[in-house]
């Protein structure tokens, strides 16, 4: 009898293992098969965490989810249309001849604007820094890099169009139905871990929503301050540049520098705006002060604060692997991982599993 029971238990175990293995295999094949959809799905998930609270709020005052999401998408589409049709064509038309001129002139080695005569002795023989680093070479490399980046962006446009068509559809479905989908997924969890999984996913969900919301608020405040500053000094493309500064600011430590690069480059490489450099730096510094003193303590949760060493390490590794996008997503990813691990550990102890 007991042998029979043991045999049954074994069969049960094998069946369970096979079941979960098949689910994992299907999921892996699905992910492999929909490689093209990974980026739209990730963006749609971020959209879900950013906007679900807004949709929930309108639902709480009696507006159906589908109406809120439709209106929200119409507004976002209008904003994107506005940016694409009003800012991008003049930006490209202005950037293209500028880049061609820079690359040509950099070939001729006529770069005078970085001929800085700051005498910093960096070794015993009395060499100046600019004799070793050679600003002209540096600028030449930077311009080539910029040109390659622009070329890569242009080559990416077909993919971008596909993403631009698919992402709104997936975002719409997520905002409308992801909760139900999550509920059906959770039904697969065995009884023993069911309550714990439910609570963990709920807490993680809340943390991620709060995190993305605070990031959006932080980026919005930063962009607004920089946009007002740039408008006041009459700088080129104040809104687009301000959005870049605000978004880059999400990358800790390196973000403010990355965000400032386009502004500083425009000042350095465009004689018309070179006199504005001190003002531009002043605006960015002012926005940084406001961000560090007021915005971050108020909106960024302490629970997602990470050790600076891990943070910089993670940002550098992700940047190395996936470029600027990697740097942008490294911090949210690490924060989510940290929160998940903490909640998981606490819950596993509370539910007497470890």
């Amino acid at each position: 009898m007991s042998v029979n029971n043991q045999h049954l238990n074994k069969t049960d175990l094998i069946l369970k293992f096979a079941f979960y293995f098949l689910i994992l295999l299907t999921a892996a094949m699905f992910i492999y098969g929909i490689n093209m959809l990974v980026i739209p799905i990730v963006i749609s998930l971020i959209n879900y965490y950013l906007f679900s609270s807004l949709v929930d709020y309108f639902e709480s005052i009696g507006v159906k989810r589908v109406y809120t999401i439709t209106v929200m998408f119409l507004v976002i589409s209008l904003v994107v249309f506005f940016i694409v049709y009003i800012f991008i064509p003049p930006l490209v038309s202005q950037l293209h001849p500028l880049l061609t001129e820079w690359t040509n002139s950099s070939d001729e080695n006529r770069f005078k604007f970085l001929n800085l005569n700051i005498a910093i002795k960096i070794n015993e023989r009395g060499l100046n820094w600019n004799e070793i680093i050679k600003p002209a070479d540096l600028v030449q490399k930077m311009v080539y890099y910029l040109k390659d980046t622009v070329k890569a962006i242009i080559a990416f446009i077909p993919n971008l169009i596909t993403y631009a068509l698919i992402t709104p559809v997936i975002s719409f479905i997520f905002l409308l139905n992801l909760d139900k989908f999550k509920k059906s997924l959770i039904e697969f969890i065995p009884n023993r871990f069911f309550e714990m999984t439910l609570m963990i996913t709920w807490q993680i969900d809340k943390q991620i929503t709060n995190y993305f919301k605070s990031l959006a608020i932080q980026a919005g405040i930063m962009s607004s301050i920089v946009a007002i500053g740039l408008l006041m000094i009459g700088f080129i493309y104040p809104f687009v540049l301000a959005i870049i500064v605000g978004m880059a600011n999400s990358i800790p430590y390196l973000g403010p520098i990355i965000g400032a690069i386009p502004l500083v480059l425009i000042c350095l490489l465009n004689p018309e705006y070179s006199s504005m450099l001190p003002f531009v730096i002043g605006i960015i510094l002012f926005a940084q002060i406001i961000d560090n003193i007021l915005v971050q303590p108020a909106f960024i949760a302490k629970s997602v604060s990470l050790n600076p060493v891990f943070l910089i390490g993670g940002v550098v590794v992700a940047g190395n692997l996936f470029g600027i996008a990697g740097m942008l997503f490294a911090v949210p990813f690490m924060s989510i991982l940290k929160v998940t691990m903490e909640i998981l550990y606490r819950s596993l102890r509370k539910y007497k599993i470890i």
């Binding site: 929930d56 709480s60 309550e195 439910l198 709920w202």
Partner: protein, 176 residues
């Protein structure tokens, strides 16, 4: 002789959602709620199956919410000083674990399936979600639960009162 057409027309087409609504109507907790509210709850509850002797939750474990018994029987047992004490055997339409809906406090007792059971779980995340998304429905649900908890508290108070008076009388008799 069979009449497939009549069979189809007369067939009782109860959807799983309707089945849950019908079940909830019979429970003491949600029985008095409006049909619309019951349909909202139906979208939130989790239907779970438990085998005979399977532990639903354990005493001391963090709790997440309450369970309704849709089918089968459940034993509620407490363990104190190494001894098990059976508090109740619950059957269809009963519910248990309602205090965990409001706080992740340790479960006060263990729940074990006496026979193969189908339970409907209603948990904290769902309650919070409905309160945030549909406050009116959320308030109705919370009020229904509060009523039942208040009833149970009243009965407990009465039992305590009787026990106190009885013990006082016994003490008086002993001293006399």
């Amino acid at each position: 002789m069979e009449f497939p057409l009549w069979k189809t027309i007369l067939k009782n087409n109860v959807t799983p959602e309707q089945e849950i609504v019908n079940f909830l109507k019979e429970t003491a907790l949600f029985g008095k709620l409006k049909g619309r509210t019951l349909r909202e709850i139906t979208n939130l509850v989790h239907k779970r199956n438990y085998a005979t002797n399977e532990v639903i939750f354990e005493q001391g474990q963090a709790g997440a919410g309450l369970y309704f018994i849709m089918n089968g029987k459940v034993n509620i047992i407490t363990r104190s000083d190494g001894q098990d004490l059976k508090l109740a055997e619950l059957a269809k339409y009963s519910f248990f674990g309602e205090l965990s809906l409001f706080d992740v406090q340790p479960r006060g007792a263990t729940a074990i399936a006496v026979e193969d059971c189908t339970l409907l779980g209603f948990f904290q995340p769902e309650l919070r979600t409905i309160i945030e998304q549909k406050p009116k429905v959320g308030v109705e649900i919370v009020m229904a639960i509060a009523r039942v908890i208040a009833d149970r508290l009243n009965s407990t108070n009465q039992v305590l009162e009787k026990a106190y008076i009885r013990s006082k009388r016994t003490r008086k008799d002993v001293s006399e």
